[in-house]
Symmetry: C2
């Protein structure tokens, strides 16, 4: 912890080596788009050749989706105090529909900027905020509905496709691209994702591109059920812990492991300054729950919240570059008593803040009554709605109850209003749901909210495993992702118990990358199975390093392998610690395959003719299988 982040937030040196070192056998590649300033970063994993014992062949490199931005690119110059390059700035400027303000237009933002006591905490290179010209609407949805294909949309089309078109014409990939047919439950994932398809999905409201014009550092990404399933990670300080530099390190750590968006849920000190440091250095969209900061502004007294304080907070955060706001506008006065009989009542922090306000004033929520005013702010900066599920169930017992579904119906009503303003919108979902009730959540969301993207927390499929809720929830997340959820909010092992440390963040992210990828496979997302096939081929051929490097966590995989067989040689050995050198099940298969392949037999023929020959051949060899590596 430090009083002065500037002493700490030096060039990359501040960041732990483990947070920024490139992944093994990986290099950053950039796919060139239709214009010079449109380059899409990806990670390419280089593979070793297949050993002769398995029929020597080259193994083509595998490209994987990369959320880490420049942090894993050794050639990139990282200076946390300067922030990342504003890669989207030229695209924003050339649309010529925004103005640069003299400075923050929120009262709070101005007050913080003036306060000399904060000088040591303040990010120095603050860019003056931009806002839509009066009467203009700068949301990607607005452009999409006008038929414009923005550079952001093209960027996304390239990013989601991962060079699939090249690979399809490269014979080295033919076998690796073989994939099972998926079952996407009515989602319509095309064989090829084009910029026009991206535009159309955004125009329909079936997908959103969270990218505030004041966060030009972020790399465009999309959230929608006809695209790769995304995951969100949460960071943020709290009344009981954490400093600015810790939060920045957590952010870099979370994009390294694969967080597609990042929510800053800070409720502690210097929320405004902390957020500035995070956004200026964050390559992925940033979301917040503005009511959290608004509550701090009234010393935690929910009943003292006002629309004016909340409105000022929205503007403050929009001008810093927050890409999406969680707004609990569905927690309506009439729904609150529906939670009375629950086992765990209202567990959403934002939901309970608004519930308390409504009860104290016996008034309808100001988030609901001022919803159109909020839309006006959103479209002036292109901030997307994440309509919060303030009444989500906090236990299996409360799943799919009237309170939850009454709120969901209200969120659908609000989605319609947001869309009238061309404001991008996604819907937040539960929570704690047993498996047999998960699908009803997805189906109802699609129907009530007109296919707006669903963004769920888990769901946790049982309540009995505190300390392991990244697993109880990964089970539910994989299923709801398969059914159509567009983004999964991660849960760490510390859920319900404490604040996640770096190891918990890593565990939570990997569990959710697994859930998201399992869902992509199940939906039959084109090319999703390529990485599985490449890794399995490496496994089968005892290419240990390739097996590690193609995994979601190469470091952990190698560490585990080396615990049992530390010798370098073991990573070239044609056996593993499970069977040992004496007998290995993988090898016999190789012989079956070599045989059938060499004969180019149909299975039936192989069956008929093959056996004698094989029997003889085996005896010749003395039927010894294991050959020294």
């Amino acid at each position: 912890m430090s009083a002065n982040p500037k002493d700490f937030l030096q060039p990359a040196s501040t960041l732990s080596h483990e947070a920024i070192r490139p992944f093994p056998a990986s290099r950053k590649i950039y796919q060139q788009g239709s214009r010079p300033d449109l380059k899409v970063g990806m990670r390419e994993v280089t593979l070793t050749p297949t050993p002769s014992s398995h029929g020597a062949e080259e193994n083509p490199p595998i490209t994987v989706y990369d959320t880490s931005g420049p942090y894993t690119d050794p050639s990139a110059h990282i200076d946390l105090r300067a922030g990342l390059a504003a890669l989207r700035e030229p695209w924003i400027l050339e649309r010529n529909d925004t103005v640069q303000l003299d400075g923050p237009s929120s009262e709070y933002g101005r007050a913080r900027a003036r306060d000399p006591k904060l000088a040591h905490l303040r990010f120095e290179h603050i860019r003056k905020p931009r806002r839509a010209k009066s009467g203009a609407n700068v949301s990607q949805m607005h452009y999409a509905r006008k038929g414009m294909i923005t550079p952001e949309m093209e960027y996304i089309a390239i990013r989601e496709t991962l060079r699939l078109n090249e690979l399809r014409n490269d014979p080295r990939y033919t076998r690796l691209l073989r994939q099972h047919r998926g079952n996407a439950f009515g989602a319509a994932i095309p064989e090829e994702i084009t910029p026009e398809f991206v535009r159309d999905e955004v125009a329909r409201g079936r997908a959103i591109i969270p990218n505030n014009i004041n966060h030009p550092e972020s790399e465009p990404m999309i959230i929608g059920r006809n695209f790769l399933v995304k995951i969100n990670t949460n960071i943020g300080n709290s009344a009981v812990s954490s400093s600015i530099e810790e939060e920045v390190e957590k952010m870099v750590w979370s994009v390294r492991w694969g967080g597609d968006t990042l929510m800053d849920l800070s409720t502690g000190k210097n929320i405004h300054e902390t957020r500035e440091w995070i956004i200026r250095n964050c390559p992925v969209p940033v979301g917040t729950v503005p009511i959290y900061q608004a509550l701090e502004k009234v010393d935690g007294k929910a009943e003292e919240l006002t629309w004016e304080i909340y409105r000022d907070t929205l503007i403050e955060q929009a001008e810093q570059g927050v890409d999406y706001f969680t707004v609990h506008a569905g927690v309506r006065l009439p729904w609150i008593p529906l939670t009375a009989e629950r086992v765990t009542g209202i567990v959403s922090r934002g939901g309970s803040i608004m519930a308390k306000w409504c009860l104290a004033h016996h008034q309808e929520s100001f988030l609901y009554t001022h919803f159109e005013d909020i839309c006006e702010i959103m479209k002036a900066y292109d901030v997307a709605f994440s309509l919060g599920d303030g009444l989500r169930p906090g236990s299996i017992a409360d799943a799919n109850d009237r309170a939850q579904f009454a709120e969901l119906e209200t969120l659908g009503e609000l989605t319609k209003i947001a869309w009238q303003h061309d404001v991008q919108t996604m819907i937040e979902g539960p929570g704690h749901i047993p498996m047999q009730l998960i699908k009803e959540n997805m189906d109802k969301e699609l129907e009530d909210c007109f296919e707006a993207p669903f963004y769920t927390l888990g769901p946790l499929t049982t309540d009995i495993a505190p300390g392991y809720d990244h697993i109880t929830s990964a089970i539910g997340a994989a299923q709801i992702g398969w059914y159509g959820t567009a983004m999964l909010c991660y849960v760490t092992p510390k859920e319900h118990l404490g604040l996640p440390d770096k190891q918990d963040v890593r565990d939570g992210i990997i569990a959710y990358k697994i859930a998201a990828h399992a869902a992509d496979l199940a939906k039959g997302h084109p090319g999703a199975q390529l990485r599985d096939n490449a890794l399995s081929k490496a496994r089968f051929e005892f290419r240990w390093a390739d097996q590690f490097n193609l995994g979601l966590d190469p470091e952990k995989a190698q560490e585990f392998h080396d615990e049992t067989l530390p010798q370098e040689g073991a990573k070239l050995a044609h056996f593993c610690s499970m069977c040992g050198p004496h007998f290995c099940s993988m090898k016999i298969t190789q012989e079956v395959r070599d045989y059938a392949a060499s004969q180019k037999l149909s299975e039936a023929e192989a069956l008929q003719r093959g056996m004698e020959a094989k029997a003889v051949e085996f005896v010749k060899q003395g039927a010894e299988i294991y050959k020294k590596a």
Copy 2:
């Protein structure tokens, strides 16, 4: 490691404290059955009262299924060198259909018993083996089909019911027993599990009770889709590691965390003696893959295996008390070439051993041709079949292919034969299967194998996370358990990479207890949700210790909590580290509930009338929510 396990396998002292200490706030209770020697062990978790701030009330104790046998009972005398008490012996004797042999009847068993070099390794108190009287059949299926309800069946009925009938009539449990309706996909789980129901399920072959007459130390349990979903854990030494005392410790460790059965997959030294130590001290059924040991007897040369060697191995192990044998009799000569085009070929060790034998001899598998001879051995000791899936897919790419399903159809054919001999049978399943293909596996197994219990490994739902396959597979395991799989074979984080240590075993077991329980909830198993509801109520009421103690891993939960809030006081505090003391979402809900409850209003009325009153009351209180604990 030690040359002489007797020096180490002393009374409990040998076992690590962490392996045998009772769980916090838990005591062993015994449910009395219809006869004095029928007492079913369970674990009762004592809970603290609800604090007055949440409407003071007593919280009744919760009983949980307990696989740990006497090891967690402080009043039990543990002496590893003497073995556990033979609790089933009187039941076996009074059936008067077995004879005690003078000693092992297998050649190998006799040779090991004679060998002076093994004296220091040998378990001393070896009970002489029993076998069915000539012409008799001692399988539980045989008794069931004759209409006999055995003490084993009554034990299971009590164990599966967990005092549910008592609880139903106890008003303190009424709210906790509230549960969602399940979707059991055609399984028929009764409201009450009676001994007669157990008998009927076993008679139909829909469930098995693995309990060899030579393993009278084991506590009866059942594997079937109309009962609680079970999990299996694997231990066993290998050519590259582990000693007898390590294996015994692993066994005790695995039953502590919830392993319902244990497979000893040893392939290293002294397999026979290691197994004896394990079985004599193991309170759960033990399974093996006899072909592994048979292979060691021919120095790993699969083509030198013979029916005679295998047969002798079956008798050797049956007389030690192995409760179920994995037999890969479905790996038929005709199916082997079907694996030629796979990405990962044959990955089952047993499957590849038999494939190699078939190819080398160009003959049909002796496991298949001698299947009826095997049945004769099984019914003489009541060993159950676990018909192995030697051709299971080892990668997503190979899922649900012709090789896999051809073998499954053969297993159905063999199930019929086994049932003609009244031999209990379950079917092993995959493997690596993407989510959208999992249900087809379950449905096909039920149809082709006439509803014999399915016992699956995972399935893993993606290949890209080496180091985290307990998670990739828990996702698939929860789903296939929901669809009807009766037992889930655990996968540890070390899968594909190395040999699991104790921490890996614990992580694998907890992940699988989660999957199994999530499946029980989804199927609507009566009472399954009781523990979730009790834990969630504790969570809501800030009864931290109760929340930890009701979880699958109380130690881990408390450890995580204390990392952020170590002070003892924090465990009484009405807040957690997520929100801190200033504002807490749980509290506002309490107020909503207190209000609606006190007024006994319908939700509609509460909505209409309640708000004014509440508003006033709030202002009176100065609307301060947080009260010091």
